[in-house]
Symmetry: C2
Subunit: 155 residues, 2 copies
């Protein structure tokens, strides 16, 4: 009984440990390919807007990445300073804003993807993509659980 519990606990620790290290390594790797001063968090926002459509509110984006809104606010201000996004008023809610990609933003995303592509291609060669595909729904499930647990954390 308690043996099972401790082994469960060990396994979960191992999981989050691996995930933490992979996050660390992949972030460092990708940031090494991006122009100086551009972080993965910046690219991710541009990519998100491009893939899922722009015209979203900052809070929508913050929730998508599960980061505090103040963090995203900072990121957006940098993206705007670089001319990659544009903040427009939200006609539906005067407190709110809508985030739009500029042409420069779309262009930057494309070139960034191009500079990441060789690494990605190498990964695709060396890793088992079938395994990764199979893993994605399991990871999404873990993500979703943590998301719910976070909401319940006020308890």
């Amino acid at each position: 009984m308690s043996d099972n519990k401790t082994s469960d606990l060990r396994m979960l620790f191992a999981l989050f440990n691996e995930i933490g290290i992979i996050e660390q390594l992949s972030r460092t790797l990708f940031e090494g390919r991006l122009p100086k001063g551009v972080l993965v968090s910046h690219f991710s926002v541009l990519n998100h807007l491009s893939r899922l459509g722009d015209g979203r509110t900052p809070l929508d984006i913050a929730r998508a990445f599960q980061v505090p809104k103040t963090t995203l606010s900072h990121t957006l201000s940098l993206l705007e300073k670089r001319g990659w996004i544009e903040m427009r008023p939200n006609p539906a809610d005067k407190r709110s804003k809508l985030v739009y990609l500029t042409d420069a933003g779309r262009t930057f995303r494309e070139t960034a993807i191009d500079s990441l592509a060789p690494d990605m291609a190498a990964m695709a060669d060396h890793l088992n993509l079938g395994d990764i595909e199979a893993m994605l729904p399991k990871l999404a499930e873990i993500r979703s659980y943590l998301d719910r647990a976070r909401d319940a954390a006020g308890t």
Copy 2:
């Protein structure tokens, strides 16, 4: 052909995206259970030393977590300030130091694990541990690949 490539790329983006969000959520969740001012990075170091044995050099530990040595140096100084670790000279290399857990450090680790246990237990109830167990070697493989890619990045 190029369709496959772009779908591979999409899949890898999705993977790192999920991993980033899970890292984010789990870190926030765990840090909410730790005493104010104690971060997951601190706990992880104590846990590492306890599980794999202390008397390691800072650089060993930095490599284990794949963080820059300056980051670990900062973390260790905080742990030392709290009396949870002890830095002793390395008899084998006068430039180097060895990191040892103190009794207070071991005790803190235990209580921290206890305070994390309820969340972990809930996860163990709601997640499929078999899936996670199966995922661990795949994640380790990805980690290992990224590790090698990092070393080759100087190329």
